[in-house]
Amino acid sequence: MSRAKLLSLQVMVAVVSIALWHILTTVPIFGVTVLPKFFFSTPLDVANRIVKWFVEGTIWKHLYITLLEATLAFIIGSVGGVLVGFWFARQPLVAAVFDPYVKMMNALPRVILAPIFALWLGLGIWSKVALGVTLVFFIVFFNVYQGVKEVSITVLNNARMLGMNERQLMRHVYWPSAMSWMFSSLHTSVGFAVVGAVVGEYLGSAAGLGYLIQQAEGVFDVAGVFAGMVVLAAFVVVIDMIVTMVEKRLLVWRPVAAETRT
């Protein structure tokens, strides 16, 4: 299918959905409004709210806070995941000892940690960063661990026969392999960094997109809730596009067929 045709079909889905939303909320059918305005708002109200936010400039602060939290969560979680992943993969004993605890920690629904982080780190950005870190860390950790473990034995033997010492093996074999696994999960880990930030904000904060949605919800301002969701969705799409660009640059050596989208 051509690019233009695909794009027009994609746009059509949005147009039809919004039109349907508009009709069902504003035009009574047999005297009954199918979607009451109070619960569903209307596309126009939501659009007006978004425009207002951007015109008044209030949204920028919230966007900035969420972006900052997500970025910090991603960086800290990734660095931690890479270090621990490498350590565990190279020290099987350590990995074996910690295995049940890692599984336990990962099985824990992260939302229940949010109150604890709020208690420990306050209502500022760091409790949200901490929540994001617990999500990002495990994704990166498992991928790096796998990446180091799954280096082909032939490639490893070849590297040894080519005269590489332990440090050079690390740099030329284990590191690139671990990175390729980490980059292939980039969409997931970046997405989870944003989830951690927004959920944290939603559960208690003074700024951010999650806070914005939570505030609107508190006063039954449905238009505000939907507007927040739309801005959040756009924000995630933009970040995902950036990740795709970064990924394309970093994984040029990979065959297209082997690309994983998680």
Binding site: T154, N158, L162
Partner: protein, 273 residues
């Protein structure tokens, strides 16, 4: 123990090498038993044997990737311990670094040895040209065909100028035409400085066409070396043409007489199991 003067200068000398693996439940599987083999400097020796006879295992001992259970390996007269640093190893499976370009793959052996990057890359691009891949430097392995990857592998190994070349069915996965082309390329490169070569293959024709000596291994387990033929064919050779030579047929028939039984034994074991 008696040691002749020539044994000391042999590039590779394996003496009574036995390789056994510990299996689960305490059982022991003997892959190779009492194998003695020497390769003189500048000699091209092929080991031929049925599938699963432990040829690759024997090669890994020579490379120092595996320690023999009994017996010893000497390289140019000194006992081998640890990796055989002076040897180049061309693997059967994919061994290139997928995250490095062809050029980087070839240059890496020099770079890890401490050569400046620019110098190593310069030499690497010369080697790529020598294996017929000039201009393919910026490609990643997945953008190359199987034969092209083997060429990169060959350049990767030869750029380090190893004294010994170990090859484990390197052209096994390639199609017949590409194998012939690769064989000729190998002979061409080899004739420039005549390294000692130990070449593993299950293809008797390939073995005869390439080498000075053909060594036959019996079917495993406990595979032994059961035959050692000198190939009386003149060099330089062309792989495709030499197969039409009368002398080639003579020696092929002679060796095949012996190998045939072992191949059938090998099939019986793997097929029955």
């Amino acid at each position: 123990m008696h040691q002749s003067a020539s044994a000391v200068t042999d590039a590779i000398a394996l003496r009574e090498v036995t390789i056994a693996f510990q299996l689960a439940e305490g059982a022991v599987y003997t892959a190779v038993e009492g194998a003695s083999l020497s390769v003189a400097d500048g000699e091209f020796v092929a080991i031929v044997g049925p599938t699963g006879c432990g040829k690759s295992t024997l090669l890994n001992v020579t490379a120092g990737l595996l320690s023999p259970t009994a017996g010893s390996a000497s390289i140019f007269g000194s006992p081998l311990s640890g990796l055989n640093q002076g040897a180049g190893y061309l693997f059967q499976q994919e061994a290139l670094f997928p995250w490095k370009t062809a050029l980087e793959n070839v240059a890496i052996g020099l770079e890890v040895a401490g050569a400046p990057t620019g110098e190593a890359r310069e030499l690497a691009s010369q080697w790529l040209a020598r294996v017929g891949l000039g201009g393919f430097g910026p490609r990643y392995p997945h953008m190359l065909s199987g034969g092209q990857r083997k060429r990169v592998g060959l350049a990767q190994v030869l750029i380090r100028d190893p004294k010994i070349l170990l090859m484990d069915e390197p052209f096994g996965p390639l199609d017949a035409q590409t194998r012939q082309i690769m064989g000729n390329l190998l002979l061409d490169l080899w004739s420039a400085d005549r390294k000692a070569v130990l070449f593993i293959t299950h293809d008797l024709e390939e073995a005869i066409a390439l080498s000075d000596r053909v060594v036959i291994m019996s079917a495993g387990p406990a595979a032994r070396i059961i035959g050692d033929w000198r190939v009386p064919l003149a060099r330089p050779r062309d792989i495709a043409e030499i197969k039409l030579d009368h002398a080639f047929h003579e020696i092929h028939r002679e060796i095949w007489e012996m190998l045939k039984d072992e191949v059938l034994k090998g099939y019986a074991q793997t097929g029955g199991g």
